[in-house]
């Protein structure tokens, strides 16, 4: 049985139990499905206990600013079968809150701390959530949010050395090769 068949059968089994979305086949051994927020925990537990997805590879977020949503990706791995399955959860961007899964995978607490700091997503009950993780004394909006203007912040906070200029390669080479503007 090929990896892709295993993945598709797994998706069929999942679909019978949970309201999961269509399977995005990134690679034969890597697929993604969207799960409603309230069904995430049961789906995770099912995958962990019944399907052998015992390893949480990562938990990360994507800021879909235009849609007003955050996407959380829980990437799970089944080590014996060597397949990875990503669960996508869409959250409303305003006052984003998600259930913590640190009791299922303790490592998730670290990811959740990072997401709280860098995206401002709250995970109530997650240990040490409000301690500083990477940033120290951060006062602005979380820096990984797409409405955070990095360049503007850098220009305001740090003095730049004068004389730094940018050359567009195309214009610069045109100037070099055709100084008379031919």
């Amino acid at each position: 049985m090929t990896t892709l068949t295993i993945m598709r059968e797994l998706h069929t089994r999942l679909k019978a139990l949970f309201p999961v979305g269509e399977l995005t086949e990134q690679r034969p051994a890597l697929g993604f499905v969207t799960v409603p927020k309230e069904h995430l925990r049961t789906t995770l537990m099912h995958l962990r206990v019944k399907e052998g997805f015992t390893h949480l590879v990562l938990l990360t977020a994507v800021d879909w600013l235009e849609e007003g949503q955050f996407q959380l990706t829980y990437l799970l791995s089944n080590r014996p079968l060597a397949i990875d399955l990503g669960l996508r959860v869409m959250l409303p961007r305003d006052a984003a809150t998600m259930e913590s899964i640190h009791d299922v995978w303790p490592t998730a607490a670290t990811y959740q701390r990072e997401l709280r700091e860098m995206f401002g997503i709250d995970f109530p009950g997650s240990p040490r959530l409000h301690e500083e993780f990477i940033l120290e004394g951060w006062k602005d909006i979380p820096p990984y949010r797409r409405d955070f203007d990095t360049l503007k912040y850098a220009n305001e906070s740090y003095s730049q050395r004068p004389g730094r200029e940018t050359h567009d390669p195309a214009t610069h080479m045109k100037q070099q090769l055709y100084p008379n503007g031919r």
């Binding site: 990477i134 940033l135 120290e136 004394g137 951060w138 006062k139 820096p143 955070f148 990095t150 360049l151 912040y153 850098a154 906070s157 740090y158 003095s159 730049q160 050395r161 004389g163 730094r164």
Partner: protein, 215 residues
């Protein structure tokens, strides 16, 4: 920003059962401001000192960015910086050259300042790579500084992204020339413009929870 609990003034019970008050930010640091180190009483002696200083450059083994990788081949036989009297030390107390090797985030800057201030005079700073000069590829980053010389007195910059070990060796030679010519006055410059440096440092380090000068 609340101060960290371990830095707060508190009562502590010692192993002998005695209770005593501890105020970490005051107790263990000398509060005297740093002073300018004068030159020797006569030029020929100062020149001798400078010759000796130039011939024993001891580097603090503190890698802030990717440039720290370039120092490893220097320690090993291929480039062997030790033949020039250059060696790496594990603590700031034993070092007199601080190489800021690459980008410096504000979080690391805080540690770099502490390490620099703990080094004994005379001390020198080399900025390695374009990140220390103008921010380099992190020019629009939200948490890296763009000009190292706003925060620490830089004696020499080595340009490149990354400079090769040969560039570092050449930089050491240039630094030796500077020191021998009596131009390695970074530590005194730091003391003379202490308030300016502190103001710059505090502008980017928002959770300043250390003494103003770390002996």
């Amino acid at each position: 920003m609340a101060m960290k609990p371990e830095l707060m003034k508190r009562m502590v019970k010692g192993p002998d059962g005695l209770e005593f008050e501890v105020e970490p930010l005051r107790d263990y640091y000398c509060e005297a401001p740093p002073t300018v180190m004068p030159a020797a009483y006569i030029k020929i002696v100062e020149d001798l000192f400078n010759w000796a200083r130039a011939e024993s450059i001891w580097i603090l083994g503190f890698g802030t960015g990717c440039g720290a990788i370039e120092m490893r081949p220097l320690m090993t036989p291929r480039f062997d910086a030790y033949r020039y009297g250059v060696q790496w030390r594990p603590t700031p107390r034993q070092a007199n050259l601080f190489i800021i090797s690459g980008y410096l985030s504000t979080k690391t800057l805080k540690r770099a300042i502490r390490a620099y201030e703990q080094m004994q005079n005379p001390k020198y700073v080399i900025g390695l790579g374009s990140c220390t000069i103008n921010g380099g590829m992190y020019w629009d980053s939200y948490n890296t500084i763009k000009r190292l010389d706003d925060y620490l007195p830089v004696d020499l910059y080595i340009a490149g992204c990354m400079p090769r070990p040969e560039a570092l060796l050449s930089g050491f030679m240039d630094l030796k020339k500077l020191i021998r010519a009596g131009k390695g006055e970074g530590a005194n410059k730091y003391v003379e413009n202490f308030d300016w440096y502190k103001a710059n440092q505090k502008r980017v380090i928002h959770d300043w929870d250390m003494p103003d000068y770390n002996w």
